[in-house]
Structures are given as C-alpha cells and as structure tokens.
C-alpha cells in the first residue's frame, strides 16, 4: 500500500470520526458542518480530479451506510461531484486570488448541498426558496467556515 493511499485512508477516518462524534454537538437548528466534504475538497485539490471523485464516491458510500442516510447512494452521488469539481483546483491555490479561491470552494460546497437537499426533500412540501434559506445556505456557510478555518490553521498544500 502506497504512502498516498495510507494518507487517503487516514484523512477518511479522521473526517468520518469527526462527523460521527462532533457534528451532533456542533449542530445549530439541525444544520451541521460536513467534514467529509472538507476532506474530499482537500484530497481533490492536492491529488486531482480522478483521486477526488473516487475518494468522494467511496467516502460518500461509507457515509450513507454509517451516517445513516435513508436514501442510500445520495451522499455518494453528491460527494462524487464535489470530488470532481474540487479536482479542477489542483495546484491552483497559490496562483489564485484568495477571495476567488474561497469563492470557488464555497460554490462547490453550495452545489453539494443543493443536490443533497433537493433530492432528499423531494416531497413537494417545501418551496425552493425555503429549502435554500432554511437548509442549503446555512449548511454551506457553516461548512465553509470550517473549511476556511482549517485551511488557515493547516494550509492545504501538496
């Protein structure tokens, strides 16, 4: 097993452990940070599109199993897209304006939550505006704050 694979496994376990132990305590009005999305973006932008999307799919599938998603496969679907999009930032962080860089990261996280909540709350009871204001935007902001904090404490580099 290569060092890179071990790194992937290590990051996946840390992210899953944080998600399972901390997310409930950090929850504000049912809005939780998604440490798995953060881990996928980190892997994707350090290792590229292919690694990012495969990592996203696997960790998403694990999250669906262990994270108790009733819609099994939904996290795998949304997190594969995160890995794919995050991969386009490979080695671009230093060349991008920080605001532009974080704007892209936040957009990726936003896309993830739009997919997640649109499919999960596909009951027709809630309008798109309410979904966005009640779930998508708060979740995006909360997860982005954690990403930005983490990125500034442990700068992400290859």
């Amino acid at each position: 097993m290569t060092k890179k694979t071990l790194n992937f496994i290590g990051i996946a376990f840390v992210a899953l452990f944080l998600q399972l132990t901390l997310s409930r305590w950090l929850s504000i009005q049912e809005i939780k940070p998604d440490f798995l999305v953060i881990a996928i973006i980190i892997i994707a932008q350090t290792e590229g599109v292919l690694a990012g999307e495969i990592f996203g799919f696997i960790i998403g599938l694990i999250a669906d199993g262990i994270g108790l998603s009733v819609l099994f496969g939904l996290s795998a679907f949304s997190k594969t897209i995160v890995g794919f999009l995050g991969g386009f930032l490979e080695n671009k962080k230093s060349s991008l304006n920080p605001f532009y860089y974080y704007f892209i990261i936040i957009t990726i996280i936003l896309i993830h939550y739009i997919i997640l909540y649109t499919i999960y709350y596909n009951t027709g009871q809630m309008s798109l505006q309410i979904k966005m204001l009640r779930y998508v935007l708060p979740s995006t902001i909360y997860t982005s704050i954690f990403y930005i904090l983490l990125d500034n404490i442990i700068p992400i580099r290859r």
């Binding site: 399972l20 997310s23 999307e53 694990i62 199993g65 819609l71 099994f72 897209i81």
Partner: protein, 265 residues
Amino acid sequence: MFRQIYNLVYDAIDYIVFGILLLAAFVILLSGNSPQIRKLQGNITDTFAFLAYPKHLIKKTTGLIQENKKLRRENLRLKQRNSRFIEAYKENQRYEKLLGFTDSIDYEVLPCRVINFNSMAIGKSLMIDAGKVDNVTNNLPVVCTDGVVGKVVSAGETTSTVQIMKDVNYRLSIRFRDSRELGILRSRDNGVLEVREIPSTSVVHPGEEVITSGFSNIYPADLRVGKVKEIRQSKNGRYQIATIESYVDFRSLEEVFVILEYKND
C-alpha cells in the same frame, strides 16, 4: 489506431470515471429498497460502526448492561400493557357486551443501545447495536418506553439503521384513541409530525392520544405514538390537519427496543 484510442481514453479518463461513478451512485440510489443494496448498506454500517461507539464497547463488557436490558424489557412490556388496558377499557365502554375481552398482547422485544444518531446533513435516522445475529431484519418496528421510534431500514450483522418518525419519507398508519379516526402520520420537511386528510366531521381534539392502528404490516396495534398538539382546517376547508407531538425525545434517546415478534387479537 489503438494508440489514438488509448490517448483519447487517457485524456478523458477523469470524465469517464466521473460518469461511471455518477451512474453507479444513481443506480444505488434508485434501487435503495432492493435486498442487495440493503445488504451492502448493512455491511458498510457493520464495518465502520466502530467509529461511532468507542465508549460503548467499554460499557458493553460490564455485566450491568445485561441486568439493565432485562429491566428495560420488563418496563417496556408493562408500559405497553398499560396502554393496551386503556384501549380495552374504552372498547368496553363502547361495547358493553364484550365483558369477556381478554388481553393477549405479547411482544418479543430486543433491547438495544443507540450508538449514533443523525450525524450527517440529511436523514433522520439512528444506528443501534443489534443486527442479524440478534434476529433483527428490515422493517421491524422500533420503540422506546415512551412510544414508537421508527423502523429498521437496514440490518447489518451486528448493527442496524433505524429510520425515525421525523424522517420526511416515513409513514405510519395511526388511530386517534378517542375519536377512533384513522390516518397516516408523516413528517413535514421541518420535522413537524402531521396527520392530514382527517374528515371535517371528525371530532379529533387537542390532547387526544395517537396510537398505531394495527393496519400496517410492520407495527402492532395500540403502540403509543404521541398526542394531538393542534388541529386546524385545511386551506380549502375540506379536511382537517392534526399536528402531532411525539412522546419520544429523539435528542436524548439512548435505549430502544426492536419488536421481533408480536401477536395481535
């Protein structure tokens, strides 16, 4: 020629793999109820469950847990029996001739610990420390001493996933205890429990107890569900909508029971 195809595939490998993975995820999502997919989910839950309960493993080794299990089982049995007695009393009032009504309720329950609850962004579910080795299978009812919690949606070998009542995709056939009206309980997107389409002529009232109807293949009759918090007319005035308050405090849920077998009258 082959070199060109190879180069083409090599250049587009990111997109090809992306397409395959998306398709795989989509297929898994669409076939979520198939036994194979539920088995896969159960296996994943089993494999990674250790991340969710390091503290629980230590507690499980102590003998006190066995004793607690026994007591909790007895407690639940008595509470459910009590609920059944209230029901029998009301039936007796309505049908005076049925004085010889006998109570034949009998649940075979399995006490379990909740080892993880609702840790992802979506879904309202919890993980319990019982699986196929304890005879837990999909679609078994899960209750606690306060009332109905949900049902098993994915049973692994040693752990299982339980869909709770507050999940938007959950449905439960219920009966209002006093008015005898039937309905389907569902959760709104914001987690509020509701029973819609109650005829306008029904006299469902706030505070009225809600119990399981027994018409479902999953739940036995007369399990406590909650009470009516509010009753209002629908916008078109054709029916009433009842908001239900569950007896269960899902945030502090630590122990639940899986009903492995039950007998109804």
